[in-house]
């Protein structure tokens, strides 16, 4: 299942999210919104707005979207135990 996420380099919950997927040996792509170029930022914001999302981390697991650090939700969508707080 493909996992990708939009994050902020300043956000501790984004770091926890990356750590969650790393510790569960699940490959993922990420883009740090604040470090991205203007065109990429506009594209990311358009996607968040289309999904009524406004905060980071913003995680896509397959065709599902999770906004925020939600280890239980990540685990549910991945079909694994959360193993995180």
């Amino acid at each position: 299942m493909k996992v990708s996420m939009y994050t902020l380099s300043t956000c501790p919950w984004c770091r926890k999210t990356k750590k969650f997927f790393t510790e569960h040996h699940i490959a993922f792509d990420f883009t740090d919104y604040d470090l991205a170029d203007e065109r990429t930022q506009e594209r990311i914001m358009a996607e968040l707005d289309a999904n009524w999302a406004s905060g980071f981390p913003y995680v896509r697991i397959g065709d599902q979207v999770v906004e925020g650090y939600r280890p239980d939700r990540f685990a549910e969508l991945l079909g694994i135990g959360s193993g995180a707080t």
């Binding site: 300043t10 956000c11 501790p12 984004c14 930022q41 905060g55 925020g68 650090y69 939600r70």
Partner: protein, 111 residues
């Protein structure tokens, strides 16, 4: 002003602001310290201490709503979570901030 002294100044300033709103600093000292440090970085970069966990859109009217403490602009959402989005502030009765997940406003039926 160096980072540590600016963090102390922001802490004193925010403490006076959030108390009357029913919030306090998170009891998670490590998280609070990290978030304040990020806010000092953002203040150095952009001139104001934006929330470290929400996007700067380069749209003044929207960006002003994520200047810390942004509680007044997200009052119903943060009251429902008993924390702000980044977790720097929690309701005054909260003793276990780890028990309070980030939940988008739309999932709480607020948007």
């Amino acid at each position: 002003m160096n980072t540590e002294s600016r963090k102390r100044a922001l802490r004193m300033f925010f403490d006076k602001l959030v108390g009357p709103m029913g919030f306090k600093f998170t009891p998670d000292a490590e998280l609070a310290d990290f978030l304040l440090e990020q806010e000092v970085t953002l203040e150095t970069r952009h001139g104001v201490p934006f929330c470290p966990c929400q996007p700067i859109r380069h749209d003044r009217s929207r960006d002003m709503k994520i200047v810390c403490p942004c509680i007044p602009f997200h009052r119903r959402h943060f009251d429902a979570m008993k924390r702000c989005w980044c977790g720097l502030f929690v309701h005054q009765d909260v003793t276990d901030p780890d028990s309070l997940p980030q939940v988008p406003a739309k999932e709480l039926g607020l948007e």
